[in-house]
Symmetry: C2
Subunit: 335 residues, 2 copies
Amino acid sequence: MSHAQAAESGEDRLIARYFQPLAKHPGAFALADDAAVIEPPAGCEIVLKTDGIIGGVHFFPEDPADTVAKKALRVNLSDLAAKGAAPLGFLLTLALPQGIGEAWLADFARGLADDADLFKCPLFGGDTDRTPGPITISIAAFGAVPKGKMLRRAGARPGDRLIVTGTIGDAALGLMLRNDAGAAHRWGLNEEQRDALVQRYLVPQPRTAVADLFRNNASAGMDVSDGLVGDLAKLCRASGVSATIELSRIPLSQAARVALAGESGLIEPILTGGDDYEILASVPPNGIDALRDQASASGVAVTEIGTVTPGDAAPRVLDREGRALAFAHASFSHF
Amino acid sequence: MSHAQAAESGEDRLIARYFQPLAKHPGAFALADDAAVIEPPAGCEIVLKTDGIIGGVHFFPEDPADTVAKKALRVNLSDLAAKGAAPLGFLLTLALPQGIGEAWLADFARGLADDADLFKCPLFGGDTDRTPGPITISIAAFGAVPKGKMLRRAGARPGDRLIVTGTIGDAALGLMLRNDAGAAHRWGLNEEQRDALVQRYLVPQPRTAVADLFRNNASAGMDVSDGLVGDLAKLCRASGVSATIELSRIPLSQAARVALAGESGLIEPILTGGDDYEILASVPPNGIDALRDQASASGVAVTEIGTVTPGDAAPRVLDREGRALAFAHASFSHF
């Protein structure tokens, strides 16, 4: 016992070295206590979200550790943004296989630190364990919204316009490219286009910059993580409405357009594959121009893709001839 | 697409069936949105804690699903209690192997629902995934403390008395009994004693009932999860003090006393094995009687085990002859 005090555990040492620098909020007590404290800003409440990612399920075990960290945080930040919330901080639980050493952890913490700074979302605490399974990362993220103003799934009204940020389908194609070495050639993609799609799967771009704008102007919103078509169905179900969107209006990246021209069947993974982490929202018609202009000023493209309609029928995706598309699976589900 | 709205995903169906009943707080939106909202009670801030448990690491894969759920929540509630916080709610991330079916999930949700009610700690949201690894459960728990009043690790002063709730070492012995079928006989335990120890490993008892009492009377506190000796060293390190505790004062259950009489070497796992989930606290001498009486009225035994001393030497555990015990490992560490 005489040296117990000097002999901090390996766990404590790793936390102090790699994670303490991310704990910049005074309520995190520099990770030197068992818990942290947080308070919402005046007039606000705290938005709570948790999402996990698992090696071999949500990312490739060989992905760079810094991008794994960014993805783990960003999938949560994407939800906060779509709910109109500004990031306040996060908790991390990390389960690592024996084979994962300190070099991986150093890269992971570096990626996480970069994003914690970028999104003003400091670490409040965590838990680190060894697992006989794959790398498993769970994050609980906290955001702030004015009291009672979280942007809900419910709230879309017939006549509202449906809008999405950014482009749809890139990450789903990126995942296919990772799994199929010949796909890029078959789809007619050059290297830059392939890389752009793969990158979108690797590191999502949460739309934090326009969270306020959507909260103030949209009638309902959510992030597109399980595929546009299925997520739109969820938004409509929660709002008690239906919707029609036009295929020709759905914003595609240049790389996705090239791939789709090369293989028309890709429209299904583009619209149902998920991992987009864009915002889908309904906006009253008179607010849409202002929202689009202000989003554009924040560097985020916003595209009108359709209209909310009455009834409880499933949303329809119409092609140029006005025919409804049919999909085998509207969205991704683990069960 | 025409039936997409009727065709909720399997994930949505499982959540609605098993977890929605736990989401009794209005801010959880009945789990029908992407996130939840929470506010601290007036004059309070929110205490944040996350802890995960993994099948084959923190519990046995064959443990009943309802006790697994209780353990997952209670290890977090134990931290909240030791910080002086009242539970407000929690987020859950659940990664399940393919082999885990709906019967397991039903039992898991039932155990979790019982504890959510018992500890007034409703579910605010979650995330459920399939994993190629073991059952992995991560919980982020939220509690309330009056602003600035979270019971810290730092704060123990020379002369303060050291106290613990309940009994120490039972869960560590329970784990040994699970791993070694012959141990109960060798240690001279009857079936009831064996079961009592095993039960303490299976389902911890968070000291929520005395959280307020400790916050109002203790100078420092933390829960004993990695072993009494190691956790005391952490408390001392954070407070910049040392400590002396007396072996003969450490509260042992009757079963642990029998086992220790049968095998004296068990003192090491008892004091360093962890999984106790009792509160260790330092209390100024003039507050200790009141705290002990009021805790006792709440049904929680509190025992004085030693004294905080000046200096930064490692805490000492003295036997009846006043000699300091030596341990191979002061506490459990995953790294």
